[in-house]
């Protein structure tokens, strides 16, 4: 098996400056949000108190970071070692994804400096309490799972700059003992990561069930938690394919297509389970009766379902799987499906009453794009200086 190595390419390319531009513009809007309140930046209102910072940055962010635990499940737990090369990048993007979720939550909390209250004041009845704790614990698990990247790169050659050099020896011995401990107990964190993911991925699906009179019947079902979990598992591997393809393109690397095409055979198992439960539930509850009515919710539902169903069928075709563009578009479609699903549950399917409408402001978009750019920035930083990507 070939070994992962840092890319060591030129870091400050034109694309990176573009990322910096998005990050800076987000920071400018962030300044107004923190100093002058939400009203100065967002279109949030009494009926729509949660906007894209929750629907996209948090709900979609968590779902799209599912590549980490899904790949863990396939490679480590079900022992499909041939996909091992995909594990490190998947865990890295999951870690970055969850960091961004945590930062987005800080942005969205009115009293952000009280975020530590989650640790102290417990309400075990709250769905959000479960989500917050699982995300918090999983972020730590992901940090531990990403530690080997740092250990492999720096153990035995820690060389901190300037006065920090005094800590060279202690840092090195920390890395050494961390490696020894991880070799023994790493497996417990692997499983814990999957269980924690099951927990909060599903609980995100329970969140909006607290408002049964607002959520449209297409999404208002007690099976919502299981549907959220299955859709997150369905999007995990497509995210690996999506990121793998983009990394190949932007870093001029050898194509991983054969491996990715092989991996794609697993997607229909998760996606099929999701679609089976989704349609069984909808038909059982008779929620599909008016689906062609043309209302905003019904149309949003049709778009969501199309994004799931088309790649589900196409991924059975070998020619599509083994064609780079075809595979990429299938993965992208499933990603769009999950994004649509989360938006439908958190925003579009919520009839909040009170005569208010909501569409995100420029500032809200800017902050969301800023977070995305920051994520890509961190990814490039990591693959450039840490052994994440493997050559085949």
């Amino acid at each position: 098996m070939s070994k992962a190595a840092p890319l060591h390419q030129k870091f400050w390319t034109a694309n990176v400056w573009l990322l910096v531009f998005f990050m800076v513009s987000a920071a400018v809007f962030g300044y107004f949000r923190f100093v002058y309140g939400f009203g100065s930046v967002t279109n949030l209102n009494p009926s729509y108190p949660m906007g894209i910072w929750i629907a996209f940055d948090v709900a979609c962010g968590v779902a799209l970071a599912a590549g980490g635990f899904t790949t863990c499940l396939v490679v480590e737990i079900f022992g499909r070692q041939k996909y091992h090369a995909l594990l490190r990048p998947a865990l890295l993007t999951a870690f970055i994804g969850y960091m961004l979720v945590a930062m987005a939550v800080m942005f969205d909390l009115g009293r952000w400096y009280y975020i530590w209250h989650t640790l102290v004041y417990w309400n075990g009845n709250s769905v959000l309490f479960e989500v917050a704790w699982c995300v918090m614990l999983y972020l730590n698990v992901l940090a531990i799972e990403n530690l080997p990247n740092v250990i492999d790169q720096y153990k035995g050659r820690v060389n901190l700059p300037g006065p920090l050099a005094a800590f060279n020896n202690s840092t090195d011995s920390f890395l050494g003992s961390a490696e020894k401990i991880l070799r023994r107990v790493g497996v417990f964190f692997v499983i814990a990561g999957v269980v924690l993911s099951f927990g909060h991925q599903s609980s995100l699906g329970t969140m909006m069930l607290i408002a049964p009179y607002k959520l449209h019947e297409l999404w208002m079902t007690a099976w919502s938690p299981l549907l959220f979990l299955l859709s997150a598992m369905s999007v995990g591997l497509p995210m690996v394919i999506f990121e793998g393809t983009l990394a190949t393109y932007f870093f001029n690397r050898k194509s991983e297509l054969p491996l990715l095409a092989d991996l794609a055979r697993i997607i229909p198992i998760f996606l099929g389970a999701f679609l089976l439960l989704r349609f069984s539930d909808l038909i059982y509850r008779g929620a599909l009766a008016e689906v062609l009515s043309g209302s905003r919710q019904d149309n949003a539902f049709l778009v969501e379902i199309a994004f799931f169903c088309v790649p589900f069928v196409l991924l059975f075709v070998r020619k599509v799987r083994e064609n780079g563009t075809g595979l990429f578009l299938c993965a992208l479609s499933i990603i769009c499906g999950v994004v649509a699903y989360r938006f439908n549950v958190f925003l579009i399917g919520m009839d909040m009453g009170g005569g208010w409408e909501y569409f995100p402001s420029v500032g809200e978009f800017a902050v969301t794009f800023g977070f995305l750019a920051f994520g890509v920035f961190l990814y490039k930083l990591a693959v450039n200086y840490l052994p994440i990507l493997e050559d085949h």
Partner: protein, 301 residues
């Protein structure tokens, strides 16, 4: 972590079974919920009696020291259109085809089993023994999940503040109840349209009014059972349905019963997560052993 195949299947089956049961019986935990404050104070608001003078509205602003909400582009008059961070209660008017006006007072319903209390992850919103649902600014993180959860869209957020509060009717808990005074709005009402008292007494009064004037009142007390019951109750005119004056036809089950049922089912005594953990560990041990055997070239499978 060596485990033979038969044992592994047992663990996996048990794990899946427990998880399935936990998910399939979401209503299980609902009966055990302890409800406080159902016998606490509340208000009965009578749309047959209300004359729409808005004395309650100004009394509320006075008691709670709230700024005026102007919808007329000037700052002299208080003319709120909806609840806001400066308006805990307001009178709304409904006019029927014949032009007859019916007034209804909007405010926090002080639910017996509040969705906001269940939603708040730090427990900043709690139902008190005295009947009020109160907000604790020392705990609140400003996540606004309570605003999503409230079926009546009551909690409000200070959109223009760097450090915002959640604001809503307090049932004058701190300002008046503690001094043995009734709520500001009920004291101000000149028409006797707002009765203050214990919830069971208010229900009795409401039933008496309906019995005494069956030609005036609709035979339904809103809030007696809606969303699990509320401490603020409503009466309406015989010909004016509650739904037309902003009190929708909600079910009798409190919204938290569904979500809490699911949550407590999935985490029952931590059995499901531990079972899933064990099952995954079992699968992992099994596949690891198989992989190792295949690598060594000798397999007894």
């Amino acid at each position: 972590m060596a485990m033979d195949r038969r044992k592994f299947f047992k663990v996996a089956a048990a794990g899946c079974g427990t998880a399935a049961c936990a998910v399939a019986t979401p209503a299980f935990a609902s009966e055990k919920a302890k409800l406080v404050g159902a016998d606490g104070y509340g208000m009965l608001q009578d749309s047959v009696r209300c004359i729409g003078c808005k004395a309650c509205q100004s009394a509320c602003k006075q008691v709670n020291k709230l700024d005026p909400d102007s919808s007329l582009n000037e700052n002299y008059y208080d003319s709120p259109r909806e609840l806001s961070e400066n308006t805990y209660t307001l009178i709304k008017m409904h006019q029927d085809e014949k032009g007859e006006a019916t007034f209804v007072k909007k405010q926090c319903m002080h639910c017996i089993d509040p969705a906001c209390q269940s939603a708040c992850l730090v427990g900043a919103l709690t139902k008190q023994q005295n009947g009020a649902v109160s907000w604790d600014g020392d705990k609140c993180m400003g996540c606004r999940y309570c605003m999503v959860a409230c079926p009546y869209n009551v909690p409000q957020f200070q959109w223009k503040e760097a450090i915002p509060d959640i604001s809503k009717c307090t049932l004058c808990e701190e300002t008046r109840l503690k001094k043995n005074l009734p709520t500001g709005c009920s004291s101000a009402c000149p028409a006797g349209a707002i009765s203050f008292g214990k919830r069971d007494e208010l229900l009795k009064i409401a039933k008496e009014r309906i019995a005494a004037g069956p030609e005036l009142y609709l035979d339904h007390i809103y809030g007696e059972t809606e969303v699990g019951g509320t401490n603020v109750l409503y009466l309406t005119k015989k010909q004016v349905a509650f739904a037309t004056i902003g009190l929708p036809k909600f079910g009798y089950k409190a919204p938290p019963r569904l979500t809490e049922g699911i949550q407590h089912g999935v985490f029952k005594y931590f059995i499901p997560p531990v079972a899933i953990y064990a099952a995954l560990g079992g699968i992992m041990a099994f596949t690891n052993r198989k992989n190792k055997q295949e690598q060594e070239g000798g397999s007894d499978e």
